[in-house]
Amino acid sequence: MQRSRGLAAVLASLVLVGVGSLVVSHKANAAGEGKITGTVKFDGAPPHQRGIDMSKDPYCSKAHANDPAQMETVVVGKNGGLENVVLYISQGLSADAANSKPNQVPVFNQKNCVYTPHVLAMDVNQDFKVETSDQTAHNIHPEPNPLTGNIPWNQSQPPGAAPITKSWKAPEMIHVKCNIHPWMSGYFAVVKGPYATTNEDGSYTIENVPPGSYTVTAWQESLPPQNQKVTVAAGAAANADFTFKAK
């Protein structure tokens, strides 16, 4: 936990990022915009994901009675696809493209005492919502570095609590935790410009990318980030596949 947090903070200082568990498209599709698609794979034996003992909270352990929960530091799905990787454009965006933000409001839910999605990508200044589906109290406690301009806060969400709407001021990979349930761990991946998050099979599509040459960065919470150069032609899809190797 501490290790992944430390690592993430180091990564955050190197990287600007964006995510969503699904592909989030940017505003209306402007004419001539292309996209970047690809697949992120994990090469090697997936690291063991520790099981979570939720016995301290009967509500949580009951919710996982038939479906034991595991840590989600590295989630490898079908055909070696790596889930929860955030893809974003770290270089080459025009100021306009970098500053435009999508209208939709991504949702971070606390369900069965885990975060869904595990990694929520969003744009700088984009509103997002924190919800709870659980009949047990949570506190939602993001831990940004205040020196980036993102200010930490800590709010309770007892059963039935109304959603909280928030946004972040600066690009940063922000670790989120719940102090009541110490196993709960997730990320807000705040990036500038268009972004996507990989699905279960590791695939992703960054929509609404203006034509141009870019560096695409793939960010994973526990593995070193990777970069790739791509050129997007008007109305076309550019491809960028990534492979993360087992440590």
Binding site: D57, Q135, A137, P146, P152, Q155, P159, N179
Partner: protein, 296 residues
């Protein structure tokens, strides 16, 4: 042999980098800070006192620097000796994240809040009460604290939460307060009797990943952010930023908040604030909440 040595030194440097949680935050330089001494943000207004940041240089060096450090980052030379049971590290003023505020979670405190914190000190920590310093000196130190973070140059303190006048204590209010305690599940950390032994108490950590205890209502210690009824109201409505204690402002209505204050008073041993609450609890024969009871 050589490669082994290199391997080990590499490994240990990685381990050190991972273990020092403060390393995650970039350091501000002393040049930057010297410049900020001359910004309008490096000032304070407490009641009718105006803090003079330059006048604070000497008292800060004399009384504060040992723990809070030259750069205000909480890495003073004494900080390494902070250990159990008072492991809370000195505040890092560069981050401008403070426990005791009258303002909502995620916002800057008011000058008065910082002044009160210096005056009150923090019970069960290495921070003593500084009421030995004159009010003017404390106001000066507030201005000094504010020169350490760029946040004071770009942000305004939050709007203090509104606290309605305290209603009269009634048995109904004490009972309702217990219902709020149950509904908010305060017992998860504070325990059903307020003994800081809830199921989540043992794993609590602060923002520097140091272990931190939930407040124990029963051992006669004072809450870190003040002991009066209004202080307690403020504590759960604002949350204590940097600690596991969240803000309940979105989930507890102002009237219910007073009920909760009255109930929390019944958990404390007799003190100068809670005679009436304890009497009502005795008359009611109030039992601790039962977390396993079906929801009402």
């Amino acid at each position: 042999m050589h490669t082994k040595l290199i391997k080990w030194s590499l490994l240990s440097s990685v381990v050190i980098a991972l273990c020092s949680s403060t390393a995650a935050y970039a350091q501000l330089t002393s040049d930057q800070l010297r410049e900020w001494l001359h910004t309008p943000a490096a000032s304070s207004r407490v009641g009718n006192l105006t803090g003079d940041v330059h006048a604070a240089a000497l008292p800060y060096r004399r009384f504060c620097v040992g723990c809070h450090g030259e750069l205000g980052d909480g890495n003073g030379e004494n900080a390494v000796w902070f250990s159990t049971p008072m492991y809370a590290q000195p505040r890092n003023f560069q981050l401008a994240v403070f426990k005791c505020r009258s303002t909502p979670t995620g916002t800057l405190p008011t000058d008065q809040d910082l002044f009160d914190a210096i005056t009150r000190g923090f019970d069960r920590s290495n921070m003593p009460q500084w009421n030995t310093l004159s009010k003017q000196e404390r106001a000066d130190l507030v201005a000094w604290i504010k020169h350490y973070s760029p946040r004071w140059q770009t942000e305004k303190p939050g709007t203090p939460i509104q606290i309605p006048p305290k209603p009269e204590i009634t048995p109904e209010r004490v009972k309702d307060g217990q219902a709020v305690f149950a509904r908010m599940q305060c017992y998860k950390c504070h325990g059903v009797q307020g003994m800081a032994n809830g199921p989540s108490a043992s794993t609590l950590t602060d923002d520097l990943n140091q272990p931190i205890a939930a407040f124990n209502f029963t051992d006669g210690t004072r809450p870190k952010c003040g002991s009066t009824d209004t202080d307690i109201y403020r504590i759960f409505m604002t949350g204590l930023d940097g600690t596991p204690m969240p803000s309940f402002a979105d989930n507890i209505k102002p009237d219910e908040a007073w009920d909760l204050v009255f109930y929390l008073r019944t958990l404390q041993p007799r003190n100068s604030f809670n005679a009436k609450e304890r009497q009502i609890a005795n008359q009611l024969g109030l039992k601790p909440v039962n977390p396993n009871a079906p929801a009402q």
